[in-house]
Amino acid sequence: MTDNVLSSNQRVKLRTDSLNLFYGSFHALGDISMEIYDRSITAIIGPSGCGKSTLLRVFNRMNDLIPGVRVEGEVLLDDFSVYGKNTDVVSLRRKVGMVFQRPNVFPKSIYDNIAIGPRKHGIKRTRQLDEIVEHSLCQVALWGEVKDDLKKSGLELTPGQQQRLCIARAIAVEPDVILMDESCSALDPESTMKIEELMFSLVEKYTIIIVTHNMEQALRVSDMAAFLMIGQDRIGKLVEYGPTIGMFSSPKDKRTEDYITGRFG
């Protein structure tokens, strides 16, 4: 289990520098500069519509799918410029995986759901694929539950199992970073707990960034917390960023305090 305290010399995995994002003429994110530490869990919190998901989707350039998106400023993954001119989005997304809000398994077998990523990268040998499938399912603690039903459709699993299958699918391509966009919000408390436990084991290998509406969850799982809010100018800004425990026990900004104590949002 993580102890929610970062050692001071923790390596920076992702860095944004004066990041601005526009949807057409709409200025969605303004001047966001933050550093995300390797093998830690960072929670992005804030009221609805403040740009949490937009910020999360900057890291794997998922916003590219929306027409009219423009990004200014620098985003670095290690020393690799995420929005650089010569950046290959496909190899970026190989390093930065994503788990979405709703469990969205493909209408395929459990096995094929996990194998789809590795197959895209040219892994064809059955033995190698078998290993990847087993390893990925073990990492999400799903192997024991489904090892005899790998040919069964992923849609027959419970929503909680489906979401763990989605996480297994994401880690099957061996990313460095896993983005989780409110990945527990569609699940019951028990499944949520399982996924949170999973985060603690995954963080030993991966850098995890989550977006969550659930303050208790942010406090339970994250090492660092980023509080985003829309300012007077309708632009989403980073109000406060720091170790989660510090932010929740003594928020530096009045707006952070109001939000995390449930006075609005």
């Binding site: 027409p67 190899s91 979405f100 789809i116 990523g117 459709s153 994401a170």
Partner: protein
């Protein structure tokens, strides 16, 4: 006189039921009538013999083969172009001038009567390209005729694939082509196949367009350059020229059975294919 809500409800119910019953009744009457008149004509000889004395006697074997060849050719031509265009419209462009032109053309083409396609095919394929009355000319003409349907049904099927599937695929570091070929296409396949089945039915049943392009020849076709007389054309000629009402009904009954069979077989295939994923 004012109707109470209960009364108007009752009247509406009666009218709607009557309309539905009338339609079902008429449809089944037509089908049953043709089958009753036509099925007794169909026997092994009818299916395996070529027509003799202009179709007065003999069977319709050459017409069955001709219909099959023209339809297969048309479908084979339309599949790459139709589905390719649908993917271009749905996945590769975001509403520019070119897509508007393509959509407008497809919609206009869909509204043109088939005899006009026949005339076009006759002038362009038969005469200008010197393909003559042939299965090739007929297949090409039918391909043009069903192209708009295939494009539209395929595009709808592609657009119906949830956006999240594409997002997940991209998030797994797939390229656009991998996303389309491994995620979007399999999910849209059911709808695409449905559009093609619809088109097969139209090819098999088409008269005007193939009469002008594939011809009226009664002989057994030997290649795609042979002229042929498809079943629908054969049926039309037999009835119009008063050659043999009996054989006309036999051909019509076979057409109906064939189209029913195509639908049943295709649905079963698609369902089995989809069931594998479920």
């Amino acid at each position: 006189m004012k109707l109470t809500p209960a009364q108007s409800e009752k009247i509406a119910r009666t009218v709607i039921w009557a309309a539905a019953l009338l339609v079902i009744g008429l449809l089944s009457f037509i089908i049953v009538y043709i089958l009753v008149k036509g099925l007794p004509v169909i026997n092994v000889q009818f299916l395996t013999d070529n027509p003799r004395s202009m179709g007065r006697t003999g069977g319709i074997a050459s017409s069955i083969v001709g219909t099959f060849m023209v339809t297969v050719l048309a479908i084979a031509i339309v599949i790459p172009f139709g589905i390719g265009t649908a993917f271009y419209l749905a996945e590769y462009t975001k509403g520019n001038m070119l897509t508007r032109v393509i959509r407008f053309s497809a919609e206009s083409l869909a509204g043109i009567p088939s005899i006009v396609y026949g005339l076009f095919g006759f002038i362009f394929f038969v005469i200008y390209l010197k393909l003559g009355w042939s299965i090739l000319s007929g297949g090409l003409t039918l391909a043009f005729m069903i192209l708009p349907t295939v494009i539209r049904t395929s595009e709808e099927a592609i657009l119906a694939v949830p956006l999240i599937y594409r997002e997940v695929s991209f998030s797994l570091s797939a390229t656009k082509w991998q996303t389309i070929s491994r995620v979007v296409f399999p999910s849209a396949l059911l709808g695409i196949v449905n559009g093609i089945i619809l088109s097969i039915g139209r090819c098999v049943a088409e008269t005007a367009a193939v009469m002008l392009t594939a011809g009226l020849a009664l002989g057994m076709p030997t290649s795609i350059f042979s002229p042929t007389r498809t079943m629908a054309v054969h049926f039309y000629v037999l009835a119009m020229e008063g050659i043999s009402t009996e054989n006309a009904f036999g051909t019509a009954a076979l057409l109906i059975v064939l189209i029913l069979l195509i639908n049943v077989v295709a649905n079963t295939l698609v369902n089995r294919f989809m069931a594998k994923g479920r």
